[in-house]
């Protein structure tokens, strides 16, 4: 198998990982316009929870469900007590969630310690598919499928459900939407929890690939922000496409221009922000 083709394949697969990681932020930042810097914190909370559960002989999939539910619940609490008062107030959101990053990261270190934690790939997926003189791990293929499922989920949410429409309308004109008799506050809470849950799911599923370590939360945040900015806020399609682009650039770039692969991505991000601030597929707003 030609190495370029293999690189492309792994790049796309890795792009799907990025999409999965950014999905939660796509909802909270992209749709609700909440500047949630603590996105990575949701990610690692779920990952660490799953790790503890799995270390205590809990089945991986069960751990996944529990971790997602717990994190979503945390999301509800966070929205109710912290975010609710500050819709539309970007500076406060930034500061609040910045503080949360610190709090969660240190608390995690106190509970789980500073050493890298390994969340094992679930046994049923722990094999590789031979392709010539190299093999492709099945787990990565699984992630691609998960990414597709998330894409479908987001598409459905955005275009088919009322919640998606309500959010978009509510962000633009909250009073109007309330006047229609809709409990905007409750919808916001649930959608926020949905975003947190997505972040949690990607945390548990992504952990076997990266390991769980200090600094993972901010890495996840930066990655997600890049994907969102390039793809455009509020567009699941944009997130998907930009994630794939970033994945391919990183992988191919790492092989061909290793010393500047990260630079290319940030330069691309800047370029988009300058020329087309709403991203490749974002709404023409703000």
């Amino acid at each position: 198998m030609s190495s370029f083709f293999f690189l492309l394949l792994t790049g796309l697969a890795y792009g799907m990982v990025y999409f999965m990681i950014a999905a939660g932020l796509t909802i909270i930042l992209g749709v609700m316009n909440v500047f949630n810097l603590a996105h990575g914190s949701f990610y690692i909370i779920a990952a660490y929870l799953a790790f503890t559960l799995v270390s205590n002989e809990v089945n991986f999939w069960l751990a996944l469900v529990v971790a997602v539910l717990c994190t979503a619940a945390l999301g509800i609490l966070m929205e109710k007590f912290l975010i609710k008062r500050f819709y539309g107030k970007t500076l406060e959101q930034v500061l609040l969630t910045f503080g949360l990053i610190y709090i969660v990261s240190d608390t995690a270190k106190l509970i789980w310690g500073p050493t890298l934690k390994n969340l094992a790939v679930p046994a049923v997926l722990n094999f590789s598919i031979p392709l010539g003189n190299i093999a492709f791990p099945a787990y990565r293929l699984f992630i691609v499928l998960v990414g597709c499922a998330i894409a479908v989920l987001l598409w459905y949410f955005e275009t088919r459900t009322r919640a998606g429409a309500i959010i978009r309308a509510g962000v633009d004109d909250r009073e109007m939407v309330s006047a229609l008799g809709i409990n905007v506050g409750r919808v916001f809470t649930y959608v926020f929890a949905f975003g947190a849950g997505l972040a949690a799911a990607s945390g548990v599923l992504g952990a076997p690939l990266t390991g769980i370590y200090t600094g993972l939360d901010t890495e996840v945040l930066v990655t997600s922000l890049i994907v969102l900015v390039i793809g455009g806020l509020g567009s699941w399609k944009g997130s998907l496409i930009s994630a794939l682009i970033v994945g391919v650039i990183q992988t191919v770039g790492s092989a061909w221009f290793p010393s500047v692969s990260m630079l290319i991505i940030f330069a691309l991000m800047m370029l988009i922000l300058i020329i087309r601030p709403h991203g490749l597929f974002g709404r023409e707003v703000l």
Binding site: L91, L96, G99, M269
Partner: protein, 334 residues
């Protein structure tokens, strides 16, 4: 005006006398606080007086620091190096500001974040130039032309003088006609526009000044610490500057300085007890935002208003009837 001049004199005296009451370590710490105060002030300037919130201000700090570190291998003249740092940062601020300022608050935050990270990754990846992730030692020492400045006391005075200088400069700008216009823009942009002022130009001007001052702080830091590394430009460092401004009080002149004092002292003190100072800092920040009455300066003003209100009412109640008492209360509250 005379009164504030008096306070200024008092502050100057404290600044001059302070190092003699501190240990060597305390003097070093104080010098660092002055540098960080300049950095925080530069951010506080655009945040509090021009209404622009940037999550990438550390980029200018890093630019200034790296300029000194990198150019320092070729040029040793301190005036040249600092000038280069300030001019370069100001220039970059002007150019990027021209592009960024078109965007809304939300996007401004994101694009400044992206820019800060871009510089971070650049510093990280251009290893030959910047030393990469390991950073670079600064090959020059401060020297006004009378010999190298190496003692903690001397370094302290240089930083203290720089701080006072920047404070005066910012005060001047804020109180100038241009400064008034900037504040006007923050309060009601369309009105200022309507009055015929080119809003964009003023915003870019503010951003340029902030960038130049940030670069100045960075240059000073390079001399102070003798070492620079990519973390200086990281967005979390920008966040820390924001933290300092918030703790001290947005929209105040001295707030950022107070924020810098509190932050650095707290960090220092807490890290001798526990390595979880991030946790404590985070809790403080979240509490501050939730309580929502601004930073320390605002709290002081709030409390002093409350107190003077109380004392006036107390004075009034003993002598006049309640109507008169209320009048005198209104007079004492400024």
């Amino acid at each position: 005006m005379k009164r504030s001049a008096l306070w200024m004199c008092l502050m100057l005296i404290v600044v001059i006398v302070l190092p003699y009451t501190l240990s060597d370590f305390g003097v070093y710490l104080a010098a660092e606080i002055y540098i960080m105060a300049i950095f925080a002030m530069s951010l506080g300037f655009i945040m509090g007086y021009a209404g622009m919130v940037s999550l990438g201000h550390a980029a200018f700090f890093g630019l200034g620091a790296y300029t000194v570190a990198i150019l320092g291998t070729y040029v040793t003249n301190m005036y040249v190096l600092i000038l280069a740092a300030v001019v370069l940062s100001g220039l970059v601020a002007m150019l990027t500001g021209a592009v960024f300022i078109r965007t809304s608050h939300f996007y401004f935050l994101m694009i400044t974040f992206a820019f800060g990270q871009l510089l971070y990754v650049t510093a990280w990846q251009l290893k030959r130039l910047t030393g990469g992730a390991d950073g670079k030692s600064v090959p020059v020492e401060m020297d006004f032309g009378f010999g190298p400045i190496t003692s903690p006391l001397a370094i302290y005075y240089v930083m203290a003088a720089s701080f006072v200088l920047v404070l005066l400069v910012v005060r001047l700008i804020v109180n100038s006609p241009a400064g008034n216009i900037m504040r006007g823009i923050m309060e009601n942009e369309s009105r200022i526009n309507f009055l015929g002022y080119n809003v964009r130009t003023y915003k870019i001007l503010a951003y340029t000044i902030a960038g130049a001052l940030g670069g100045f702080a960075g240059a000073l830091y390079a001399y102070y610490n003798a070492y620079v590394s990519p973390e200086l430009t990281h967005w979390m460092n920008s966040g820390i500057a924001m933290l300092m401004v918030i703790i001290g009080g947005v929209g105040t002149l001295i707030g950022p300085f107070i924020g810098a004092v509190v932050f650095i002292l707290l960090k220092n003190y807490i890290s001798t007890i526990t390595s979880s100072w991030h946790l404590i800092m985070g809790l403080i920040l979240v509490t501050l935002v939730l309580v929502g009455r601004g930073g320390i300066v605002h709290w002081y003003a709030y409390l002093s208003r409350k107190l003077s209100g109380l004392s006036a009412r107390w004075r009034a109640s003993g002598k006049h009837d309640s109507a008169e008492g209320m009048k005198s209360v209104e007079h004492t509250e400024n």
